[in-house]
Symmetry: C2
Subunit: 318 residues, 2 copies
């Protein structure tokens, strides 16, 4: 389990490579939400998502001999691209196992950062087996998208920066999928802003975090059904433990509300964020009584939108 | 005719109201273009376009008595919204004449800033007559979208700020429609960066600036046919004079290239810019030999995209 010291160490480790992203404001969205919104713009992070922080911390945590053997992961999304770019910053090999049927544009992005793609059948068992095989064959280090402690500590740096820039917050709202970003946020808040409530925004079609927190035990086996492609992963075991002990609370949001919130950010902030980012703003807008008059931090987690899929996405948010 | 002193005065006058927008960079776009691109992010200006600078300068140039009678203009686009917001910053009335058939979302934006809308038939003669009638009836001051010297001086502040932030530039590329932004750029460059070449990016379907500069006299009567809705205006007479004397050169760009450039900015910068903005990047990408290795400034002029019209727009850029 990572601790706050690991977040501080990650901040120093990734500083030469990652962007210190800005915190954005919008008078119009503040008026709509009835509170003061401070958006941490991680869609402007390198590789277009906060994922670069954790990947970069993992890559630069390796000893020289281990690093030379490279890194491996399975992800057809932002973590794959982030690890590929992080590996490039250290000039080491990166292997990414991607399932058949993944979006071609996303695979092209991972390949463009110099990673080697390995295709496999689209089940989680196949993906993990392919990873394990590659790890044994190459000696590459496995970097899990959200349970790896180096990844969680790296993601915590986003909240650390947000607190530095925005000042005291009554609440922080982050999207939750596997729980890497949220776990890192819990570490940073516990140490630096224990009075700030941590809210986890989750799509209705992948709401196992809400269910897990309600039951007090980690629920698995959900079949995700949501446009938030970054939030389809199952909440990790260490992540559940961290969030549960921290007292984080979940807010569940319909995809239609998420797409409407995404369009609001596009229209009023002129920032291209992906649905998995907008779920946090949607959670605030759907629960005005919980945030009225508060200073609220929101992590805009990524901006890797498939532009060719927009018509279908917009149809959902009418 | 405005001079550089008017640009400096405008900068001081609008400073309490307008944003000093950032200058954005992208490694990926630099690599694609083969030069160093410095994007002045005027889509992040208030009202979502550089137009707020000129409108704000005009509104705050008025004496108290004149200001109390309000301002009037005809525009269904960014100038109308910008003047409405500028008038609101001074709490004075604003009348905007809009043609029948204008995009409902744009009219809603103008109304949301508190302006009174007046509908008229969609010819330029009808729009000017309606403006004149309102001016006589209310005593409101006419603020023309691009020939008004206060507007041109205000737009010059965008280039002034870009030069301050980005440092010396070999070239500056701005979109040209009526010539307000370009005229202001000429003033700023002549005084502060006489060695910087001024390029005017213009859609093929509204290329009367290129034709006017070629002939050495202002050509009018074009029927614009372009997706760049901000660039359909006819080059103004004072604007032509300023650009022609300055030695500005035009680059004509197909709409398909403009839409592709827009998508590149969306994808790699995560910034929602409108087609009228992207024409400048498209001009650089289509003319690599002219800009190779240079430090190039580009004004991203606005971000007011009609999201409901995206499918048609994207079809064009395939």
């Amino acid at each position: 389990m990572p601790g706050f010291d690991d977040v501080l160490a990650a901040a120093a480790r990734i500083a030469p490579h990652a962007h210190a992203t800005p915190v954005l404001r919008s008078r119009t969205l503040d008026a709509l939400a009835g509170c003061e919104l401070h958006f941490k713009a991680e869609h402007l992070q390198r590789s277009g998502a906060f994922k670069f922080r954790g990947a970069c911390n993992a890559v630069w945590s390796l000893g020289d001999a281990g690093a030379a053997r490279g890194v491996v992961t399975h992800s057809s999304g932002n973590h794959g691209a982030a690890l590929a770019l992080a590996a490039r910053t250290r000039r080491i090999p990166c292997h990414v196992v991607v399932p058949e049927g993944a979006v071609a544009a996303k695979l092209a992005a991972i390949a463009a950062y110099g990673a080697t793609l390995h295709r496999c059948a689209p089940t989680i068992a196949d993906r993990e087996a392919a990873c394990e095989q590659l790890r044994r064959a190459t000696g590459a280090e496995l970097v899990h998208p959200y349970t790896d402690p180096r990844v969680i500590a790296g993601q915590g740096t986003a909240t650390l920066e947000l607190l530095c820039t925005a000042g005291p917050l009554d609440a922080l709202v982050v999207p939750v999928g596997g729980g890497g970003l949220a776990g890192g946020a819990a570490l940073a808040l516990a140490a630096r802003a224990p009075g700030t409530a941590l809210w986890l925004a989750e799509p209705t079609g992948a709401a196992e975090t809400a269910e897990s927190l309600r039951r007090g035990e980690r629920v698995t086996g959900f079949l995700p059904d949501t446009v938030c492609d970054g939030l389809r992963g199952t909440l990790g075991a260490p992540n559940f433990g961290m969030l549960s002990r921290h007292g984080a609370q979940a807010l569940v949001v319909d995809d239609a509300d998420t797409v409407r919130a995404m369009r609001l950010v596009w229209r009023h902030c002129k920032q291209l964020v992906e649905p998995s980012s907008a779920v946090a703003l949607a959670a605030v807008l759907a629960n005005p009584e919980r945030f009225a008059g508060q200073r609220v931090g929101i992590v805009l987690s990524g901006g890797n939108v498939d532009l060719d899929a927009l018509p279908g996405l917009f149809a959902l948010g009418r």
